[in-house]
Amino acid sequence: MADHFAKIMTARLVAVVGDQASAVRRMQRYSAWTSVLAAGVIKMRCRRVNDIGKFLSPDSIGWDPGTFESVSMSPAPLAMQPTEYVRNSWQGKEYGAIRALHVAAVHDGRAWAIRAAGMSISPPHGDFPDAFAIALPVRGNPVLALMGSEEAPIHYLRWAANKDGVRSVLATGIGTSQPGPPMQCHAAAQKTHDQWQIVIKRPLNVGLPGARLTAGAKTGIGFAVWHGGNDERAGIKAFSIDWTELALEA
């Protein structure tokens, strides 16, 4: 998987920087980053529960801390940023500092909910909000770091601290996100000490172009976090690099 991903990354970099040698050099700079991939696919079990209504708040008693999985997060590489301006202006600056997200998911056969924690809270009145997104593949085998492709889109649900609810977004590549299919979603966020705890609920089954979740089946899930207080927005974010396997109990 890591080799496959490195090939795709290099191809993308050739398009950005113009020649194979420069692309390979840039890839080598991210050796630490790619080594994370070699660690293998992380798995996330989604328990089936009787009533998802008991899981709609981050502090609902249904959430069992023993089921929380830790997902590694990394800064989205500068070489992947789609414009020279973004790459130059963020050169040497730190971003995407979160190293792990703590997540758990449940479903009741009709709806699915995820709880995420570990995102630090920004001071108020910044230019950009703290934000969190989950990514689900719509079809095919999309590359998460490339935000999918025309043949294999990715469906995102994005929560932002300055807005109610979540935004449904469909992407077919970096910089291509557009409004996704309307969905009956619910979002709840709580500040605990200096961290956000967030719950997002969505229907299990949705029609295309939304990403469908099926009880008893496996899919992939990805994550992105923007720390608004650090001016993080667009591709300047932390992300989960590759899909985490999400297995929904039958």
């Binding site: 940023q81 789609p82 414009t83 020279e84 301006y85 973004v86 130059n88 202006s89 230019d127 970096i174 910089g175 996100s177 927005r233 667009a234 591709g235």
Partner: protein
């Protein structure tokens, strides 16, 4: 690269700083929620800090064709749209209450250093510098946007933000070296001068140029040999871009300002201009000295009874000659319920 490029030339010798252009633009385009602080057209006193304050040191643009990091101006730096205590003054019942902006702590407005200028008496000096988006040939804003939300129209080179694609990331604000992009925090999108494209498309010149009482602004295509822009920029070579060193090829040009002679310690006029050439060079580049000499020599010729096509163009006796092909009256294209009558007959 667009097929043709629309452009504007502003003759700084004629700008009187009345802000009619600013108001014309404000009334037409920036009245929606979230736009209160926006002045797509600004007129500032130079030397001065301009709008947003100290914009010339905020970075952006290109150096050696490499995109340069830039600062993202805040509403405070642009100059907040003040709220006044009109209700309290008019109806509060206390005749001693003064009119106050922002409760008496207004901060710096968009034009806060108006008429301050530079130099020491008797050599104090200033001129007015109107600015809009430069609709650059190589727009740094367009190149910076990760959403490809900014487009340069092929037909005329007008640079527009697609508000449906824009997500309010504001990289464009940082990248623009002229700091002429605003952010609407109600709509969550960046917004800027649109060169009045709906009017241009219908053959009507921009609101700022048409409303200008000083006949400062010329509008047309760069490549139209019969139009005023080509004549001023290419034929007579007396219109210069502002801060061309940013590498974006701006398409707003300026006829630089002449000034009276500098006065020496004995109170006598010298050969030096009151506005230092070095300052004008810092704005318009080294050719500004040659341009000022050319305008002076043409004036001298006319003063000696000769004619000057170049000065006739700058004087703009025929107002509509200033606008190239965009000479229609807005009334001709307006879908307005307002009807105009002359001697009882609808016009």
């Amino acid at each position: 690269m667009s097929k043709r490029q629309i452009a504007m030339v502003m003759d700084l010798n004629k700008c009187l700083g009345c802000q009619t252009c600013t108001v014309a633009c404000k009334r037409l385009w920036t009245r929606r929620d979230g736009m209160a602080h926006m002045l797509w057209n600004t007129v500032n006193t130079q030397p001065g800090t301009g709008t947003p304050h100290d914009w010339e040191s905020m970075g952006g643009g290109f150096r050696d064709e490499r995109a340069q990091p830039g600062h993202r101006p805040s509403v405070g730096e642009f100059g907040k749209a003040w709220t006044f205590n009109h209700e309290e003054v008019a109806f509060g019942g206390n005749p001693d209450i003064p009119l106050r902006a922002e409760g008496g702590a207004p901060g710096k407005g968009a034009n806060w250093d108006e008429d301050v200028g530079g130099g020491e008496y008797p050599n104090s000096h200033y001129f007015y510098l109107p600015r809009i988006c430069n609709h650059c040939t190589h727009p740094a804003c367009l190149a910076a946007c990760p959403r490809k939300a900014i487009d340069k129209r092929e037909a005329d080179g007008i640079v527009l933000i697609d508000e449906d694609r824009c997500r309010g990331y504001r990289f464009c604000q940082e990248a623009c070296p002229y700091k002429k992009i605003y952010y609407n925090d109600v709509e969550g999108v960046s917004q800027k001068c649109i060169f009045c494209f709906p009017r241009i498309d219908a053959g009507v010149t921009t609101a700022c140029s048409r409303q200008c009482p000083g006949r400062v602004r010329f509008v047309g295509f760069l490549d139209d040999p019969n139009g005023p822009i080509y004549k001023l920029v290419t034929q007579y070579r007396i219109a210069l871009p502002l801060h061309a060193e940013h590498g974006t090829q701006p398409n707003v040009y300026y006829v630089p300002p002449l000034s009276p002679p500098r006065i020496d310690a004995d109170g006598n006029p010298t050969e030096e201009p009151r506005i230092p050439n070095e300052y004008l060079v810092s704005l318009f580049g080294p050719r500004v000295v040659e341009v000022l000499e050319k305008i002076k020599s043409e004036r001298a010729r006319v003063a000696n009874g000769e004619t000057s096509e170049m000065l006739d163009l700058l004087i703009s006796r025929k107002w509509l000659d200033m606008f190239g092909p965009f000479t229609k009256h807005p009334r001709e294209i307006a879908e307005s319920p307002i009807r105009f009558y002359k001697n009882g007959v609808r016009t």
